[in-house]
Symmetry: C2
Subunit: 362 residues, 2 copies
Amino acid sequence: MARTPRTADDGAVSRRKSAATLGDVATHAGVSPATVSRVLAGNYPVSRSARQRVLRSIRELNYVANTHARALAGVQTKTIAFVLADVRGPSFAEAAHGVEQEAARLGWLCLIGTTQGDRERELAIVRLMREQRAGAVVLIGGVADADDYEEQMTELAYSLRAAGSLLVLCGRPPLPTGVPAAVIGYDNEEGAYSIISHVLSQGHRRILFLGGEERHTTSLGRLDGYRRALATFGVEFDPSLVEHGVFTRASGYQLTKRRLAGKRDFTAVFAATDVMAAGVYAAVNEAGLSVPNDISIVGYDDIELAQDLRPRMTSVHVPYEELGRTAAKVAADEDHQRDDWPGLQVTLKTHVVVRDSVARLD
Amino acid sequence: MARTPRTADDGAVSRRKSAATLGDVATHAGVSPATVSRVLAGNYPVSRSARQRVLRSIRELNYVANTHARALAGVQTKTIAFVLADVRGPSFAEAAHGVEQEAARLGWLCLIGTTQGDRERELAIVRLMREQRAGAVVLIGGVADADDYEEQMTELAYSLRAAGSLLVLCGRPPLPTGVPAAVIGYDNEEGAYSIISHVLSQGHRRILFLGGEERHTTSLGRLDGYRRALATFGVEFDPSLVEHGVFTRASGYQLTKRRLAGKRDFTAVFAATDVMAAGVYAAVNEAGLSVPNDISIVGYDDIELAQDLRPRMTSVHVPYEELGRTAAKVAADEDHQRDDWPGLQVTLKTHVVVRDSVARLD
DNA sequence: ACAATTTCAGCGAGCGCTTTCTAAGGAGCT
DNA sequence: AGCTCCTTAGAAAGCGCTCGCTGAAATTGT
């Protein structure tokens, strides 16, 4: 406890055990605490001489304001918290980077938490963030199980708002209008539709779909696009061509290996993420098959890795960094504090990047 | 300002503009604030009936403690801040993940900030973190310019300590003994020595070194290992085989491309990071050359990518996740609060993972 | 020269919580 | 019944900061 009475003379500044307070600075400069506060805030006239004495004292005492006290006194903390499944996912990292960049530019701090895709943990962390009184809480990446998703997010949005903060959803399904939250998304369905259309246009008819967890919103959206493209090309949907795993390299590898061990009844693979696709490449290579001659492969996300795979992979480009950047911008914008703020919804565009991993079938 | 008098009846809990306070809970439960606090803390006897009423009220009012008030009242905030150059670097991400994992396990929160390798920004961010009164500040990754490094870090260590927090350096050069900081490192020199020895043992004599910024500590350490291996094998060091860029794929690509345009006076390339190595692969492929037959390539870090490159890349494995994990452990350990804490220094082992990117020269 | 105005300092309350101190009531003892 | 001891509750101070208010000094106007 700081209750311990501070000894009168802590002696040398540099080695004192507890940091200098605003009061200490005031004493040292021979002014009142209020004046110090005003010099710091710069929102009230202070005479030149007083200001200079205060600034000198601050420097000499190596004073740093106590954020908690400041926050308690009512100053909004410029902190934006973001929650994602795993920092190591390249696409999430990209988004995180976007948030971070923009936040830094605006003078905000970033708090980060990871959930490992666990719904429970996600809730727990958001709760924690709420306690921290972050200016905004950004949730990045899809979620498993969409059943009570809307309801839960809506409640979250309101409870965060009550705590003076904003819920921002990134790359997740939208919420009903009127809910005080921002949803920054991109169209999973559309991107998948485009890339599968491309594959179909190259003559492929049997395309293996490798998704994440069965009820994962991202996976679901991409599957929808896959189906719609099939329909457009008049190709019947075959459920046996759909496999579910998780969004990791290992999972893509396993799934493909298993399929390859059986009858090879497909000419192309659509991995729901590039990371999974890397696993597909590995399995296909290992089976002694060639990409794209034996098997064509396409991914989704267009992370840097797509260019390092050989042959370079055709994928759907998602502007993850911009996603994060936008999220931060919205979070930092004080507009959403207004009582009649209607919520916000932004959808970013994706596009297909054609490289060398799809063979033309004749 | 919260100075605005709270209106007596905010009505429905769920839509009230500001969150419930401990006092509200107390009133609702018909007890004193002290009792609520004690129920929460669980460090003081509270009668069964009072406890239950309080817990019910907490639930009904959807109460969440205000972290800032709590911190101000003297409770240690379990926050660990970490600072790195860029979240997108796979190896840093791995370390960050380690920190995050361990921190979460111990019930700590993570704050993250990025510097883009800018020394100024690093200082600014640490300053900010210091204001936040984080329990520990972890600095991950090497630094450019080692001139006043020791001095600056030492000062930082003391100033953080004065603010009640701990400086943890990850993957950076050690500090003088006695400085109250923890340094968790791995041996850049040793890893480079091992992998270059391997390359030399395969008969290579002219190995191009592709480093990061010229004075970057990580780069420097790896270069030292390269030189020592050369010496061990009795090969003279040729400065013209050393190139400096930055730790990105693009830089590795550029550097290699330029070298390849001139006289090809080397048979192998040692990229100081795997990410750079990916660029080397790209440039070599583009020049119509084959890896490893025309050019052998080795990297450092052994990130997942190393297995996706073709041929799969030989690299030095660095236990980044463990690095982060250890950092978090140290940070959370309250031992370092002791006045006579001597500082800590841990060095983790690295090892070479041999794959298919080095050809045997006969 | 005196009143009216403008600067600028300081006082003090209050943000939401923890914890020490004091005390009320009940149990156990003689 | 009178005493002590224990259990549990509440009052209140204080953590470091911000800001509304009051008032003294400096400036201006006439």
